[in-house]
């Protein structure tokens, strides 16, 4: 909003000049029709005074005089707002009464119905004046009456104000309505962006068009098209992965079968060593293929959050325990369990994959005669419960300075034995991330021996 690109600000910027112009024009239009009659009413009052004064002109013995008692003159000069001036002149132009220095009317003005009305300056003040021509003894005397313009200016002010105030109120109302109306009109857009912001990046369901204003529908439509394309690409990738899995694993299974067959026969020792290498490489390749596929699956949206469902990790472990016990026996490692309820929202396939990698690592790096324990538990944490899946062993452990690196892809700790690809913990970390779980790597015992990898999940309600 602050960068001025806001629809509201732009709209107001465009509305303000025409509204101001309209106000000005409105004031002018209201002023002229009402100022004319008001001015002539005030002028008429001056004319009346002039006529009244004209009545008081006397003519005797060739001399003109004005019979104006001082009380009458005071009344005449009294006005609530303005200063009143007058001057009575004989036909020859000499002043008979009043303010003898009041200037004469402009000579080029022609009298209209015996009256000249004009503007003038007197005593450095603006005045409005009338000159009334009155008959006196067969000749024409002139009575000038002038007043300052205080009440006339007040009148102008009142007229302008009375016409401006309503239009000003309408203008303010317009601006307020625009300001809040635009905000209100754009509220569905704000809700829409909230909705998009709150989405998980893996949630590719179309956005509901429902409450969006008509003008924003093409945008939502385009967004949904894009989401649809991403979804489509994802499901294509899923299909590709399923096919790749099949196409890779079947020949590997065949290769493994034949090397095992060959090893089961009487072969010369030199040949046996080569065969064992081939067999080992086959098993490693198979495992690597499995891991790469698992990693790709964990990354793709096919296993997005929507696919998480409530499950108990204890049951997940129990379901696959059998697969690992045999391997433990073959390596003479005591693989044990410590299982308690651990409810999470999870994807069973991925959790099994994470577990398989943890157990595989533990069995791989623990010497014969060692112990590996798979544990599930629900633990109280500060702000609630946490479900825990952990695997610990009494092998060499992972030094603290390498713990951050071991979750990187293809990282293998220097000098490690075994046949790992360096993908195991990266997969575990990826899968943990998908579940909102954290991965903690530590020692199995207080003495710093062994390794314990814990996945700490936000617990799901039972």
């Amino acid at each position: 909003m602050a960068n001025g690109r806001s629809v509201r600000v732009q709209l107001l910027r465009r509305l303000l000049p025409p509204i101001t112009a309209l106000l000005a024009i409105g004031a002018v239009i209201a002023y002229y029709p009402s100022i004319g009659p008001a001015e002539s009413a005030y002028d008429q009052a001056l004319i009346d005074v002039g006529l009244a004064l004209g009545e008081r002109i006397r003519y005797a013995e060739g001399r003109y005089s004005v019979d104006l008692p001082s009380a009458a003159e005071r009344i005449l000069r009294t006005d609530r707002y303005d200063q009143i001036y007058f001057r009575v002149r004989a036909p020859d132009g000499t002043s008979l009464a009043g303010d003898s220095d009041l200037p004469a009317p402009p000579p080029d003005d022609t009298p209209n119905d015996g009256v000249i009305a004009y503007n003038d300056v007197y005593g450095e003040r603006d005045v409005r004046a009338v000159a009334v021509l009155v008959p006196c003894a067969g000749k024409v005397c002139t009575v000038q009456v002038a007043e300052t313009t205080v009440k006339r200016k007040r009148l102008v002010r009142d007229i302008v104000l009375s016409s401006l105030v309503p239009t000003l109120l309408i203008a303010i109302a317009t601006l307020v309505i625009v300001w809040f109306g635009v905000k209100r009109g754009l509220a569905p857009l704000a809700r829409l962006s909230e909705q998009i912001k709150e989405r998980s990046p893996r949630d590719l369901r179309p956005i509901e068009i429902g409450p969006v204003p008509e003008e924003a529908k093409p945008m939502v439509g385009a967004l949904n098209d894009l989401l649809g394309q991403v979804e489509e690409a994802n499901s294509n990738q899923q299909r590709f992965l399923a096919n790749a899995a099949h196409q890779l694993r079947t020949p590997l299974a065949g290769l493994q079968a034949h090397t095992e067959l060959a090893l089961g026969q009487a072969v010369p020792d030199a040949c046996r060593i080569e065969l064992e290498q081939v067999h080992l490489a086959t098993v490693r390749t198979a495992r690597l293929a499995n891991q790469l596929l698992a990693l790709a699956r964990a990354e793709s949206a096919g296993d997005r959050e929507a696919a998480l469902e409530p499950l108990d990790m204890r049951r997940v472990v129990e379901g696959v325990a059998d697969e690992w016990v045999h391997r433990g026996l073959a390596r003479d490692i005591d693989l044990g369990f410590d299982l308690a309820e651990a409810r999470v929202r999870g994807n069973e396939f991925l959790l099994r994959e994470a577990l398989a990698n943890l157990v595989h690592n533990a069995l791989e790096y623990t010497p014969a005669g060692g112990h590996v324990t798979v544990r599930t538990a629900t633990r109280r944490a500060g702000d609630g419960a946490r479900a825990v899946l952990e695997v610990e062993d009494d092998g060499p452990g992972i030094p603290p300075e390498q713990r951050a690196q071991v979750v990187q892809r293809f990282y293998r700790a220097p000098g490690t034995a075994g046949t790992g690809s360096g993908l195991g913990l990266a997969i575990v970390s990826e899968i943990a991330g998908l579940h909102g779980a954290s991965v903690e790597i530590g020692e199995a015992t207080a003495g710093g021996h062994g390794c314990r990898v814990s996945l700490i999940f936000p617990a799901a309600p039972a």
């Binding site: 099949h246 694993r249 079947t250 065949g254 493994q256 045999h326 044990g336």
Partner: protein, 224 residues
């Protein structure tokens, strides 16, 4: 014992069949679901090893049609797919067990032995495991041909372990199988029965493994 392998990859089919032949089974190989259904119709097999990812009619469909004909032959599914759903679907359709590709031959052979043993136990009264023989109808046990005295609870525990030989069995599962209605049986009691069984069976080479924190496993018996 006759086994039918349904696998379209010739290399894998040949390898598996050679290994199983080496274990003393008679093995036939077909390449498709249609051929498998024909073969099962014409001959009696003790086990079918069925690849799920067959071209044309896939393994699931072949399994569904096989079960629709009321054929009870045990089916071991081979699959390269890794979705949990596939495994559940295969077992729901009537598959008896499931091995994911690629697999170690020893694992496949152990599964084959276990499945055949299980189907024999269902078919007849006798379960054989190396020198150990259980007659489930007469409730008599023999070890290396000699009668073996077993208390009722020991018998119950041994029967559970034997029907799931080479698989781990949780203590809970053992308790459920041997406890009478309304009776509480503690995990400690199971430990006692297992240790008595061990004392009797180990001299003949039959091993019961403890799986720490989980349960027990009757180890696959191999001739010494």
């Amino acid at each position: 014992m006759r086994i039918l392998i349904v696998e379209d990859d010739p290399g894998l089919a040949a390898g598996v069949s050679k290994i199983l032949e080496g274990e003393g089974y008679a093995v036939d190989v077909v390449r498709s679901g249609e051929q498998a259904l024909l073969a099962v119709e014409q001959e009696a097999f003790d086990l079918v090893i069925l690849d799920v990812g067959l071209p044309g009619m896939d393994g699931f469909e072949a399994l569904r049609r096989l079960r629709a004909t009321a054929q009870r032959v045990p089916v071991l599914l081979l699959t390269a797919r890794d979705a949990v759903d596939d495994r559940v679907r295969g077992l729901d359709l009537g598959g008896d067990d499931y091995v994911a590709k690629p697999f170690a031959m020893s694992e496949l052979a152990a599964r084959v032995r276990a499945l055949i043993r299980r189907s024999q136990a269902q078919a007849g009264p006798k379960i054989v495991h190396g020198p150990l023989e259980l007659d489930t109808v007469a409730r008599r046990a023999y070890l290396a041909g000699a009668p073996l005295e077993l208390a009722a609870r020991e018998w119950g525990v041994l029967e559970v372990l034997l029907t799931r030989a080479d698989r781990i069995v949780s203590k809970e599962a053992i308790i459920q199988a041997v406890a009478n209605w309304g009776e509480e049986l503690s995990p400690n009691a199971i430990e006692v029965y297992v240790s008595r069984l061990r004392a009797k069976l180990e001299p003949a080479g039959v091993q019961i493994r403890t799986v720490r924190g989980f349960g027990y496993m009757l180890e696959d018996y191999r001739e010494p």
